[in-house]
């Protein structure tokens, strides 16, 4: 459906990748760790390697969680936009197929949050 308006209605998306000065948005969700109240929204360089993303962005983001030291993200189960995904740590994000406003979900089996509460 579309907007029911009094005249012709045209709108531009506000968050096109061009508006991010060469960067792009990446969302990351770590299930069973809802102490982080929502998936993270990160600003990333598309040519950053996946390995660098894990070390430089993801690990500092989750550092406040008691499970973070036990989490082996490179050997975890990943979803990219809800589909199974095997990241190549040496390849760039874009070459891994991670485009603007993509969502990564990373499950770390055995880690169930604070006292197993999924927090």
């Amino acid at each position: 459906m579309s907007v029911n308006a009094i005249s012709e209605y045209h709108a531009e998306p506000k968050d096109r990748v061009e508006n991010f000065n060469g960067m792009q948005l990446l969302y990351v969700y770590w299930p069973k760790h809802l102490m982080f109240c929502a998936p993270f929204a990160l600003l990333v360089a598309p040519d950053m390697t996946f390995g660098a993303f894990v070390d430089e962005l993801l690990k500092p983001a989750v550092a406040g969680h008691p499970d973070s030291e036990k989490a082996d993200f490179l050997n975890a189960q990943w979803l990219l936009n809800d589909e199974a995904f095997t990241p190549d740590p040496a390849a760039t994000l874009i070459d891994n197929g991670i485009d603007h406003k993509s969502m990564l979900t990373v499950t770390t089996p055995g880690l169930e949050g604070i006292q197993g509460s999924a927090s």
Binding site: M1, S2, V3, N4, A5, I6, Y9, H10, A11, E12, P13, K14, D15, R16, N19, F20, N21, M23, L25, Y27, Y29, P31, K32, L34, M35, F36, C37, A38, P39, F40, A41, L42, L43, P60, A61, G64, P66, N81, D82, D99, H100, K101, S102, M103, G113, I114, Q115, S117, A118, S119
Partner: protein
């Protein structure tokens, strides 16, 4: 002609001073004078069927309101002269006023603008007068709320720039975008959104918590505002129901349109009320009732009766009502978790509940609090006491429609976020729920333009590249003074001074991570 009875009865007076003030145009076509009345597809066959429940005329309106105003300001003066702020339950309470002043009072102003606009759009005189009065009411509420709370601004931090902050602070885009959505809709959708869904179905869940909260916590100024606004709110609620019945009775083609608007605006209102839920359960030192209890009384029971009554028009209860009902046991905890961890960017303080408050939460939420939230809160409390007060150092993913971070969980599994994603014209969009995703799919062009605070910060449009600069320069939040942890804050210190108390040892050891 001799006039036998000089005084008109109410009905005649209303007729003369309202309906008879209108006229049938002859120089211009009616469609040209009221150009916005048809494009939404709503069919009105006879405006004279519009019922005016109060038959209030403008002259009487001014008289009543002036009387109320006089009493109200006498109490504000007495409150200020007697240092009424010293008699509240605890200074933590003032944080709910900061939320109200920056999140709700600007909505009263937005409602004024909305009613002033749509009051021009209806060709029926009864509807125009009702909208005119409500526009003035809303303006009065915005103003009197600011006056009620201005006394607190002299003694506590964070109340200094609510209007500026409403347009900028990340979480205030939630109430702001709600009203922007309604005000940018056609006149009939605006009335369905605000008069019916908000004022009639959900308003008790906004006003009762805040005004009873004020009463329970010794805030005479705000509770007096509440009493002064009560008769206006009663009028708004009655109008809300009349509006919906009138539109539904006018033409059967209106039913599916109204149903879609009810679905949309129930969901948007429910999401907005998450802020009120956390205020009730976490920000009031003296609790009124739990959010879940309020939802049961004011939505499940009252709303249930309402939608039973509307069944005869072919209207069913709002879509996803079942999701909202199940969420009553979760939303306040999820929202408070969010504000606690992002308190470096809020215009009020946050804290972890005291032990007896945790016990109250366990009692009120026997199915959910201990199982899903207690461990998290105890962990944060322990971290804080050991000098590591938790703040989330990233930004959250926001819902494209309600603009709340994607914090809500699945109805059947409270350990999983109810995140949804779709692609529209090559762009990815993310949502907190099916409810918000459906709203997007119905009018994608409207929501692709959403000014999402997180994305705006990343685009460099909020005055700086890091959160600290945005918070200070763009939001006008004074870091370490207006925001972050309550314990150890200047507000906390001032309260202890007022009460002649020294900080408790454990409190003095608590460091705010400023």
């Amino acid at each position: 002609m001799a006039i036998k009875n000089k005084k008109l009865n109410l009905k005649d007076k209303y007729q003369y001073l309202t309906r008879d003030m209108a006229w049938e145009p002859t120089y211009q076509k009616k469609e040209d004078i009221y150009p916005d009345e048809r494009f939404e597809g709503i069919k009105i066959t006879d405006w004279s069927q519009w019922e005016d429940p109060f038959r209030l005329t403008m002259d009487a309106y001014w008289k009543y309101q002036a009387e109320k105003e006089k009493k109200l300001y006498a109490i504000f003066d007495a409150f200020a002269q007697n240092n009424g702020h010293q008699n509240i339950s605890d200074a933590r309470y003032v944080n709910s006023l900061k939320l109200f002043l920056s999140g709700v009072s600007p909505l009263e102003y937005a409602a004024f603008q909305g009613y002033a606009r749509v009051g021009r759009q209806f060709s029926g005189a009864g509807a125009r007068v009702a909208c005119q009065m409500q526009a003035i009411d809303e303006l009065r509420h915005s103003q009197t709320q600011q006056h009620a709370m201005s006394h607190y601004n002299k003694h506590f931090n964070g109340l200094h720039d609510a209007a500026h902050q409403h347009d900028r602070i990340w979480f205030l885009s939630v109430p702001k975008s709600f009203f922007d959505d309604a005000r940018s809709a056609g006149p009939f959708e605006f009335l369905t959104a605000i008069s019916f869904s908000f004022e009639y179905v959900l308003t008790n869940l906004l006003f009762v918590p805040f005004m009873s909260g004020a009463a329970y916590n010794g805030d005479m100024a705000t509770v007096t505002f509440g009493f002064s606004a009560q008769s206006d709110e009663a009028r708004h609620m009655t109008l809300g129901l009349e509006v919906i019945k009138f539109i539904l009775e006018q033409h059967e083609d209106n039913v599916p349109i109204i149903q879609r608007w009810i679905d949309k605006w129930f969901w948007r209102g429910f999401r907005l009320l998450s802020l009120v839920g956390m205020m009730m359960d976490y920000m009031l030192p003296n609790k009124v009732m739990s959010w879940a209890e309020a939802w049961e009384v004011y939505y499940e029971q009252n709303g249930g009766a309402l939608f039973k009554d509307l069944e005869r028009y072919g209207i069913r209860p709002p879509k996803y009502q079942d999701v909202a009902n199940a969420a009553k046991n979760h939303v306040s905890h999820q929202a408070w978790s969010t504000f606690y961890q992002y308190s470096q960017a809020t215009n009020f303080h946050t804290w972890m509940p005291e032990e007896e408050e945790m016990a109250w939460l366990s009692e009120k939420y026997p199915e959910t609090f201990d199982k899903y939230y207690r461990a998290r809160f105890e962990h944060w409390d322990k971290e804080h006491k050991e000098g590591r007060r938790f703040y989330n150092n990233t930004l959250p993913q926001l819902c494209q429609v309600c603009q709340i971070p994607v914090i809500f969980t699945e109805k059947d599994d409270p350990t999983v976020f109810s995140h949804r994603q779709i692609k529209h014209e090559g762009e990815r969009y993310h949502f907190c729920s099916d409810g918000c995703c459906d709203i997007f799919k119905n009018e994608p062009e409207k929501y692709i333009q959403a000014w999402l605070p997180v994305h705006q910060i990343y685009q460099g449009n909020c005055g700086g590249a890091d959160v600290a600069t945005v918070v200070e320069k763009y939001y006008h939040i004074n870091p370490g003074v207006d925001n972050m942890e309550y314990h150890g804050s200047p507000d906390h210190q001032r309260w202890l001074d007022i009460k002649g108390l020294k900080p408790l040892k454990s409190n003095s050891e608590k460091k705010s991570a400023a």
